[in-house]
């Protein structure tokens, strides 16, 4: 950085003599920092002191640990008894070698981070290995796509292809008609390539989505500081704390990548950016061409996801407050508001008009939204109670550390990141988002919060760089340990067997249009295929009276929902392994209900067992003549 492009905060009233800077010698974007050579990989400076013997040992140790930990991780996957998962999911079946690989990888990363001359490629390698270790492990272990919602999204793509767009009689799936971008992007891809289904590549979405996020994260952090240790430390903390699992095959993961790209491009254009700007002669604001590109991306967000445009509007509104980012944030804010209003008033009008009353209700009871994301712990499995507390602990720790970072490292207040971290908070008050709002707010806050945490725990200290960096090792271990609770703890429900998929296929192939399909929970892979043709009943999520009847008398509880079924429009009761596990895990219904229901159905009048493969049982029901 040179000449006229001083950081905005240096000319914007920063106290003279403020030495509270990201690298101890230079403010972000300053010209005189000792960290300047760190912007990209290894640059040997003529005046750099020679490496001591311990430096050399540390560097080589870091280079050995990366391949070693990857090898140990892959070896650990050879024999994982996933069928023995209980209430802590993968956490209790991963072999010790997996945890050794995780701890080694974290140590190797700290060693690499402590050496300012190690090439950036090593840090990239460590982060990619971390992403693979966390997010590719389930994909490599499971026989088929994980998570019921991912299966649901495959069904939506299939239905949109069959109907050439809007799916009629979509019922609860109608929200996807109103924000179809993600689904129609995949529909286009499937139709043009001739692939049958997205199931093959959907399994790899979590690792791929996280790898893609690395680019906007790096651009964002490198726009704020040139301290490489801080940049990569924040990246590591982001991936170590991103436990909410919104990286699967879903509109949210797609829209989040687009959101982060817009944010990164904006920070990159700030006058205070620590990165060289594409056009240094430009004083402020967007280059017109880039603004057009940003508006195109915003439009893609608006047509793909209901919540992300609101998060973008909130973020841009807050970033419009300080003068230094106003000329960049305001045009994006206007574009986002206009496009969102236009979309909601036209294509998404049906959904908005139906749900506006819920929105008004939630506005009057904001505390309900804040608490709605917290699990009801009444009858949950013991492990889930522990898991819930660990999740809360990690989220609270990130929030507290980020606030501490903001207070202690005063220079971060001038970066815009605190505003970005706070951006989801207004949304907490106005939208419950199906009880998910707290988790989504965490997701959108995390990129900025991770940097504030990194700024706190990786203070600039060129003289004691090594001990200071290695001192964060225990903290990083705790973070990633807590992440595994949140991310792997519910895998008993998210993992399916091929037999469960086969049972669902049987039902879909045999159920005539107009049939009723009854399950206990939503955890049946691929049962949503042809969703517009069938009526679905999920017993665990009915009115409390119906639930109590089901618990008291399972047969009567089911019959109430299927009575009147005819040979032309029969009903199917589908009981599977994962549903049983879900009830055990969450306690939505007593864990003995599946067994009692199955006993009651076998032999009951009107119910015929038509399919049984060990992991799934299907009963067909036709109401007997009076």
């Amino acid at each position: 950085m040179s000449g006229p492009h001083r950081p905005a905060h240096t000319s914007g009233g920063a106290p003279t003599g403020d030495t509270d800077t990201p690298n101890g010698a230079a403010r972000p974007g300053d010209t005189t920092g000792t960290q300047a050579p760190e912007t990209s990989g290894t640059r040997t400076r003529p005046d750099a002191p020679a490496r001591t013997r311990s430096d050399v040992v540390r560097v080589w140790a870091a280079r050995l640990v990366l391949p070693l930990s990857i090898a140990l991780w892959l070896l650990s996957l050879r024999s994982v008894p996933i069928d023995r998962m209980r209430d802590l999911g993968l956490l209790q079946v991963m072999p010790p070698l997996f945890w050794v690989a995780t701890a080694l990888l974290t140590l190797g990363f700290c060693l690499t981070l402590s050496d300012r001359r190690t090439h950036g490629a090593w840090l990239t390698g460590y982060v990619l290995a971390l992403i693979a270790l966390i997010h590719a492990t389930p994909t490599l272990l499971y026989p088929t796509l994980r998570y019921s919602w991912a299966w649901k999204h495959l069904a939506v793509i299939d239905a949109m292809i069959r109907h050439g767009g809007e799916v009629p009689n979509a019922d609860k799936f109608s929200v996807y008609n109103d924000w179809p971008g993600f689904f129609q992007l995949h529909a286009l891809f499937l139709r043009t390539t001739g692939l049958d289904s997205a199931v093959g590549y959907a399994s790899w979405t979590p690792p791929i989505a996280n790898v893609l996020l690395l680019a906007p994260l790096l651009l964002l952090y490198r726009s704020v500081t040139r301290d490489r240790r801080l940049v990569w430390g924040a990246v590591w903390i982001f991936y170590s704390c991103s436990w909410v699992g919104q990286d699967y095959f879903a509109p949210q993961s797609f829209a989040f990548l687009l959101f982060m790209t817009v944010v990164a491009l904006l920070f990159r254009q700030l006058r205070s950016s620590a990165l060289p700007r594409p056009d240094p002669r430009r004083r402020d604001g967007w280059p017109p061409g880039l603004l057009v590109a940003v508006v195109v991306i915003v439009a893609a967000i608006v047509v793909s996801h209901p919540l992300t445009p609101l998060m973008l509007i909130s973020a841009m509104a807050l970033l419009s407050l300080p003068r230094r980012s106003r000329r960049l944030a305001l045009p994006v804010l206007i574009a986002a508001v206009v496009l969102t209003a236009a979309w909601d008033a036209t294509v998404a009008r049906s959904y908005i008009s139906v749900n506006i009353s819920n929105l008004i209700d939630s506005l009057t009871q904001p505390d309900k939204n804040v608490s709605s994301g917290l699990a009801a712990l009444g009858d949950a499995a013991p492990g889930q109670i522990l898991l819930s507390w660990v999740d809360r602990g990690l989220s609270a720790a990130v929030a507290l550390l980020a606030i501490a970072g903001l207070l202690v490292r005063r220079w971060t207040r001038r970066t815009g990141l605190p505003l970005l971290a706070a951006a989801p908070l207004p949304l907490l008050a106005v939208n419950a988002y199906g009880g998910e709002m707290l988790f989504r707010a965490y997701l959108f806050s995390l990129p900025a919060a991770a940097f504030l945490v990194a700024a706190l725990v990786l203070p600039p200290n060129p003289r004691r760089r090594v001990p200071y960096t290695l001192a964060v090792y225990p903290l990083l271990l705790v973070m990633i340990g807590a992440l595994f609770f949140g991310y792997y703890g519910k895998e008993i429900v998210n993992q399916y067997t091929l037999k469960e998929v086969a049972a669902a296929r049987y039902v879909i192939e045999h159920a005539p249009p107009g049939s009723t399909i009854v399950t206990l929970t939503a955890d049946v892979p691929d049962l949503d295929l042809d969703y517009e043709k069938h009526r679905r009943v999920q017993l665990a999520y009915q009115d409390p009276d119906d639930q109590r009847l089901l618990v008291r008398d399972p047969l009567e509880g089911v019959t109430g929902f299927v009575y009147g079924a005819t040979t032309e429009r029969p009903a199917y009761v589908v009981l599977t392994r994962a549903q049983e596990k879900n009830l055990y895990l969450t306690g939505a219904l007593p864990a003995d209900v599946p067994g009692r229901l199955e006993s009651a159905l076998s032999g009951a009048e009107g119910f015929t067992r038509v399919y049984d493969n060990g992991d799934a049982v299907v009963y067909r029901y036709v109401t007997p003549p009076p």
Partner: protein, 126 residues
């Protein structure tokens, strides 16, 4: 640069040609995937911000930004094309690739401003 622009202009038509191959054949999947992930986004960048793409190509952050924008802009354009065709009730595989190929070709072949064209790769300290 002229080869890049001509290549981009042709890429969509090659992907369209590949759809004549049997469903899910590896060549067809590869041709369409590469086109969708790279070409519309790259062509849009050439049209919208040639300076960002060319002048600072040597800087790692600029390369990262260009790569990210290529992918994300391409996905965004493909999404918008798909949504418009589906909303209009006229979606077919051929039509969608036809629109994207035309869009890519137009963006790639748009005349550049001389200022941007004449300015060779150079590094500003920013």
């Amino acid at each position: 640069m002229i080869f890049l622009r001509l290549g981009l202009a042709a890429s969509g038509w090659l992907a369209l040609l590949a759809t004549a191959l049997p469903d899910a054949s590896p060549v067809r999947v590869a041709a369409v995937t590469v086109f969708l992930l790279v070409c519309p986004g790259l062509a849009a960048q050439l049209a919208l911000r040639p300076s960002g793409l060319l002048r600072r190509a040597g800087h790692p952050a600029a390369a990262l930004e260009a790569a990210l924008l290529t992918l994300v802009l391409g996905l965004a354009l493909t999404t918008l094309v798909a949504v418009v065709l589906f909303l209009g009730g006229v979606f077919t595989a051929t039509r969608s690739l036809l629109v994207l190929a035309t869009l890519t070709a137009v963006l790639a072949l748009l005349p550049r401003r001389s200022r941007a064209r004449n300015r060779g790769p150079q590094v500003h300290a920013g």
